[in-house]
Amino acid sequence: MKRQIPLVLVFVFGVLLAIQYFVPSEASQRGYEFVLDWITIIGIFAMVLGIWSQIHVGYNKIKHRSEDWQYSVVTLVSMFAMMFFGLSFFGGLHGTIFRLIYNNVFIPIQATIFSLLAFYIASASYRAFRARSAVSTVLLVAALLLMLRVIPTGPLADPINKIGNWMLLVPNLAAKRAILIGVGLGGVATALKIVLGIERSYLGKD
């Protein structure tokens, strides 16, 4: 009951949906769409668990006055404030305050975190691009040449540009293809392990 039925469910639904891919009939399409909705709906209901997890972790920190507990107050307050202003009374998703917070807190923070990458890509290049071995030298040279494309190098600009394009279109394409094929096989194998019940640790013990 606790472990066998879920395993049967995984197997039956896994096999059915794998077969569904090959069956274009209307019943099969409708079934597919219905089942996809299940996934979405389970995900939505699970959000309650996510929010509970946030509250639980935050509450424990505040209760035990553990380090930085004050910030958990910030998280909880801002979370509830956002939900409060998102109520349909305030206009839901289009409520004024909701939009203002979204546009002036959420968006700038999001964009700024993304832009930190500019700094990290620089520090990573400095630290990691060292000609330690043949392999790392190849990595270094390839990256350097592509970066040099941006810099005005006078008569060298054309050859550097050509090498850069060649690297993107020949070795890069080959590498991408090989990885994608490998990923495909590995992915199918993993999915198969789940469907056949070879991997079952997510079902717990007992």
């Binding site: 794998a18 996934i39 293809r177 469907v195």
Partner: protein, 235 residues
């Protein structure tokens, strides 16, 4: 040109700029400002996501099947009348599955939540098997033969015919694939080919890295321009 900006806009933009600085301060070291911004954005994003799921998730995906929706006569906006809709009665199943997730709050019945989880994984895995086989394996196999032109008359890089380079792409793909074999040790000719594969991979990685730098710097430029615009707005 004189532009009038409302005090509200200035205040809200200043909040955004302040938070931007809070986050940049992380580059120096972890500090209370960063901690504040971090915890704030986590809270706001959870709240935002929950509200978004309510309006754009549960309403169209579940309630619209289970209940009758009507249009508000004045605003035209749709709203839920909470009258059951018999045609969508089969949506009771996902609703029950969703509620089963909540059994995790109880120690005794939490095993019931394994049913929806098992379905979730079973369905996703089942869908993935043929689709992954097609998109990753077959399409790439096709790409190696049809995607490339194998044109011997056009001269490509270094004056070498483009067709030769296309063969090089296939050879690179093959040697990289050989690198990924698990059953055979990298020794002898096999190891040599695998070595060629790892060099191909590394050139590809290096090129992608170098190529991406520009896009990342652009992100920073936009941020600095955002601060500059705020500066101009205030002064």
């Amino acid at each position: 040109m004189e532009q009038t900006v409302s005090i509200g806009t200035i205040l809200w933009t200043t909040v955004g700029v302040f938070l931007t600085f809070c986050l940049f301060s992380f580059l120096y070291k972890d500090n209370p400002f960063y901690k504040f911004a971090e915890h704030l954005v986590v809270g706001v994003s959870v709240g935002y996501w929950a509200i978004l799921l309510y309006y754009n998730g549960i309403n169209p995906n579940l309630f619209s099947h289970l209940f009758v929706f009507a249009n508000d006569p004045t605003t035209g906006a749709e709203f839920n009348t909470w009258t059951p809709r018999l045609k969508g009665i089969h949506y009771i199943i996902p609703a029950l599955l969703g509620i089963a997730m909540w059994t995790r709050f109880s120690r005794k019945y939490s095993w019931i939540s394994r049913y929806p989880l098992a379905l979730y994984l079973g369905i996703s895995s089942g869908i993935a098997i043929p689709v992954t086989m097609k998109n990753n394996v077959l399409s790439q196999l096709r790409g190696t033969v049809v995607g490339l032109g194998f044109d011997w008359s056009v001269s490509g890089f270094l004056g070498v015919p483009q067709g030769i380079w296309d063969v090089v792409v296939v050879v690179g793909t093959i040697s990289s694939l050989i690198y990924f074999f698990f059953s055979k040790e990298h020794k002898g000719a096999w190891g040599g080919t695998a070595k060629l594969g790892i060099y191909t991979l590394m050139i590809g990685f290096g090129a992608t890295f170098g190529y991406t730098v520009m896009a990342r710097i652009s992100l920073l430029i936009y941020r600095i321009q955002y601060i500059r615009d705020w500066w101009k707005m205030i002064f």
